[in-house]
Symmetry: C2
C-alpha cells in the first residue's frame, strides 16, 4: 500500500526532525518488518541508520533481510563493527548469503570478518553453489534428530537448539552417515506419546531435491506436495540443508514475473518499477525492439517484391494489418499456452506430436470461424468483390493454421536445443508468422486474381 | 514428470489386470498423494474405484483432494454410503468445500447427507462466501487458545484437539468474544517455560484479512509477510478461519497463469492442456481473435482512405508491418510492466502522472535509438530516398511515443473503471496503437512528401 506508506513516511520524517525518538520507537515496534522495509524505501537514505538503531535486535535483523540492497549497503557502511556483528548474529545463514551476494567486495570482506568462524565457514560453503540452485538458496539451520531418540528427547533437542533454526515445523531424522531416513512433523511429535521412538511416527515417504536442482523446480515441488520445507541432499544423498516455503513463494512470484516480462519482449529487472531508472528501462526494452524492428526487414522485402502487383490491386493492402495481427495473435495464444504447460511440467518434448495434432485441429476450427465471419463482413460492410474476399479469407485460414503450428512447436524446440522458450518464442514467432502470412496472401492473390 | 507416470501407469495397469492387489498396495503406499492423483489421470477411469480402495484411509483422503473433479465425481458415484462417509470424515472442511463447489447437485446432496451434522453446517456456511474470497478458501479448523492458559495447558489443548486441525504450526489467542488478541507459533510454545502464560510470549503485531478479501490479495500478503497461515476475521473482527500457505501457493500459481493467459488474449481455463478438449480451446481463444480481427477494420479504413496517395508512392507500403509491429511491441512492453507492477501493489491509480512521465522519457530514448538505427538501415541497405527515410523514422519515434503512452495508461484507467487490466490492455492496445501509428505515418508522408 504505497499510499499508507507515504503518509506514515511523512509522520516518521516529522518525528525524526523533532527528535521524538521514544515515540518513533513506539510506532516502529508495532509494524511488521516487511512493512518497515517498504517504509524505508520512501524515506531519505540519511535517516535510515538512526531509525534502524531504534529497532529491537530481532526486529532489526528481520527488517534488514527484507530491505533492498542499496539501503542495506548504506546501513552496513554506517554500522560500527559491534553493530554489524549483532545483525549478522541474528541472521539465518541463507539470508546472510543472499545479502553477501549483492554487496561489493569490500563490504563482503567486512561482513565475513565480523561473522563468527562457524557462520563464516557456512556462508563460504553456500556461496560455492551455482546461482539459482537449491544449494544457493537453502539454509543449513534445520533440526536433525536421530532414530534412537524418543518423542520426549526430540522435543528436548528442539528446546535446546530450536531457537537458532529457521523452522522447527518439520524435523529430519538422519542416520550416522547423515543420510535422511525419515521426516517428523512437529504435529506428529506433539501428538506422540513421550516414550515412543521417533522411528514409530516418522514419515518415510521421503521427497528431497539435490543441491544442484534449479530453484524454480524446488519451489514448484514445494507447492505441488504442499510442504513447509524441502530437504536438500548432496551427491552422496547426505542431508545438507532445507528450503523453506516462504522462500519458495518468493521464487514462484519472481519466476512468474520473469516469464511475463520475457513474453512481452522485456529483459526482466529485479528492482520495483519506480526504483528502476529510465536508462535501466531503456536497456531492458530497446534490444528487443531493435531486434524485432530489423527482423521486420523480411516482411518489407516481401511487400516490395510484390509492389507492382499490389499497386494494380490496392484494395488488398488494406487487409495486410488485419492478416498480420490475427496471425500474430493466433500464434501467441498457442505459444503462451505451451510455454505455461511446460513451466507446470504438463508438457515436454516427447509430447510434440500430440501438441501439434491438437493445435492443428484448434487452428482449423478457429480459422474457419474467423474466415466465415470475415467473409460476411467483407461482402456486406466493405463491399469488396467476392473473389477478393475469398483471397483474404483463404489467407486468414492459412495464417491461423501456420501461426498455431509455429506457435506451438517453437517453444518445444527452443527448450530442446537449450534456449529459454519464453525468450525465444515471442520475437521469432512474430517474424516467422508475419512472413508466412504475407507470402501466402500474395501467392494466393497472384494465382486467384491473376495479379502477376 | 509425465513420462515417469506413463511407465508407472503401465505397471499399475498390468498388476491390476493380474489381480496382484497386495503388490499394488505395496507400491501405492510409497507414493505421495499428489503423485497418485497425477497417476490416476493416466489410468483408465474404470480402474480408479478398485485402486482407490487399496489405499489406507488417510492417504486415500489426501489423494482424493488432489484429484481433478471428473475422477472425483466418478469415485463418489462408485462409493457406498459408508465409503463416502469415511472419505468425508478425513477431509478438512475447506477441501470439502472445494470439492462440493465442482460437483453436480445430486452428488452434492449425497455428500452433505453423509457428512456429520457439524461438518454439514460448516460446509454450508463456507459455501455462502463469494467465489474467490478469503471466506470461501479458508478452513475453520485452527487451534484457538485463551489468554489465561499457560504454555503447558496450550500444548495439552493441541494434543487433545490438534489431530483435526489443518495446522498447529500457528495458534491463535482469542478473547471471550472470539476477537484475536495474539498469535503463538508452535516454536514459541515449545521454547517457553511450561508455566508461562501464553500472553507472555504471544505475538501481538497482528496481521489479518477480512472474509471478503480477494484470494489473490490474501495469498500475496502471506508471501509478503512470510506467514504459515493468515487469520481471517469477519465484519465484527471475530476470528472465523485461517488460510494456509499451501493454498496461498496454489492461488499465486493460478493467478499468474491467468494473467499470462489474458495477456496472450486467451480466456483462462483451469484444466491441464491435454485434458482440455479442442472445442474448449476453441472457445477460450476464438472470441479474442474475432474481436481483434474486427477491430482491425479501423486500420483497414485508414489505409483505404489513403489508397490513391499510397499507390503513387508504393515504397511506403513496405514499412507498414515494421511500424505496426514496433508500435505494438513498444506498447505491450509498457502495459505488461505496469500490469505486473499493479499486481504486486507497487503501482496504483494515484501514480498515473509519475508513470506517464517515466514512460515518456523511456519512449523518447527508445524511439530515438530505433529511428537512428533504422535511418542507417534505410539509407545503406534499402537505399530509399533520404526524405522517405525521414518520414519512416519520424513515424517510428511517434509510434513508440504513443504506444508507450497508451500502453502505460490503459491498465491504470481500466482498473479505475473496474475492468481487469490484463484483459483489457492487450486487445485494445493493439487496436489503438495500430490506428495511431498508421494515421501518423500517412499524415507525415502527406505533408512531407506532398503525397496528397
Amino acid at each position: 500500500m504505497p499510499e499508507m506508506n507515504a503518509n506514515l513516511a511523512t509522520t516518521i520524517s516529522a518525528l525524526t526532525g523533532a527528535k521524538k525518538y521514544k515515540t518513533l520507537r513506539d510506532i516502529l515496534v508495532t509494524i511488521d518488518p516487511a512493512d518497515i522495509a517498504l517504509l524505508f524505501n520512501d524515506l531519505p537514505m540519511e535517516m535510515l541508520p538512526l531509525l534502524f538503531r531504534l529497532l529491537p535486535k530481532e526486529q532489526a535483523a528481520d527488517t534488514f533481510v527484507e530491505m533492498d540492497s542499496d539501503p542495506q549497503e548504506l546501513l552496513i557502511r554506517s554500522f560500527s563493527d559491534t553493530e554489524l556483528k549483532a545483525v549478522i548474529d541474528e541472521l539465518y545463514v541463507d539470508d546472510a548469503v543472499d545479502i553477501v551476494e549483492e554487496m561489493p567486495a569490500n563490504v563482503v570482506k567486512r561482513i565475513l570478518q565480523q561473522a563468527d568462524p562457524e557462520t563464516r565457514k557456512l556462508i563460504n560453503e553456500l556461496l560455492k553453489y551455482p546461482d539459482d540452485s537449491a544449494g544457493s538458496i537453502m539454509t543449513t539451520e534445520f533440526v536433525d534428530l536421530r532414530p534412537e531418540m524418543t518423542a520426549a528427547e526430540a522435543i528436548l533437542r528442539i528446546q535446546r537448539t530450536g531457537i537458532d533454526k529457521e523452522t522447527i515445523n518439520t524435523c529430519y531424522v538422519t542416520d550416522e552417515s547423515r543420510r535422511m531416513i525419515g521426516i517428523v512433523s512437529i504435529r506428529a511429535l506433539i501428538l506422540a506419546r513421550a516414550e515412543s521412538p521417533v522411528t514409530e511416527f516418522m514419515q518415510t515417504n521421503l521427497i528431497s531435491v539435490n543441491t544442484l536442482e534449479d530453484q524454480e523446480t524446488v519451489a514448484e515441488k514445494i507447492r505441488k506436495y504442499g510442504l513447509i520445507a524441502m530437504p536438500v541432499v548432496d551427491g552422496e544423498e547426505r542431508l545438507v540443508g532445507i528450503v523453506t516455503v516462504d522462500d519458495a513463494m518468493d521464487i514462484l512470484q519472481e519466476e512468474a514475473a520473469e516469464d511475463i516480462a520475457k513474453m512481452a519482449a522485456v529483459t526482466p529487472t529485479e528492482e520495483p518499477y519506480f526504483k528502476t531508472s529510465v536508462f535501466a528501462l531503456w536497456k531492458s526494452r530497446v534490444p528487443w525492439l531493435l531486434f524485432l524492428m530489423l527482423s521486420a526487414t523480411f516482411t518489407g522485402m516481401i511487400i516490395r517484391s510484390f509492389e507492382s502487383a499490389l499497386s494494380s490491386l490496392p484494395v488488398l493492402i488494406a487487409y495486410i494489418p488485419m492478416l498480420m495481427d490475427t496471425g500474430g495473435n493466433a500464434g501467441s495464444q498457442a505459444s503462451v499456452t505451451i510455454i505455461r504447460g511446460m513451466a507446470l511440467g504438463e508438457i515436454e518434448f516427447g509430447d510434440t506430436i500430440r501438441v501439434i495434432w491438437k493445435e492443428i485441429r484448434v487452428a482449423v476450427v478457429c480459422g474457419i470461424t474467423l474466415a466465415v465471419c470475415n467473409f460476411g463482413k467483407l461482402m456486406l460492410l466493405d463491399r469488396v468483390a467476392p473473389l477478393e474476399a475469398a483471397v483474404v479469407c483463404t489467407t486468414l485460414i492459412a495464417a491461423v493454421f501456420f501461426a498455431k503450428l509455429v506457435g506451438c512447436s517453437l517453444p518445444l524446440f527452443a527448450r530442446k536445443i537449450g534456449f529459454d522458450p519464453a525468450v525465444m518464442a515471442s520475437p521469432l514467432l512474430t517474424t516467422i508468422v508475419d512472413a508466412i502470412s504475407l507470402l501466402t496472401y500474395f501467392k494466393i492473390a497472384t494465382v486467384v486474381l491473376k495479379m502477376g
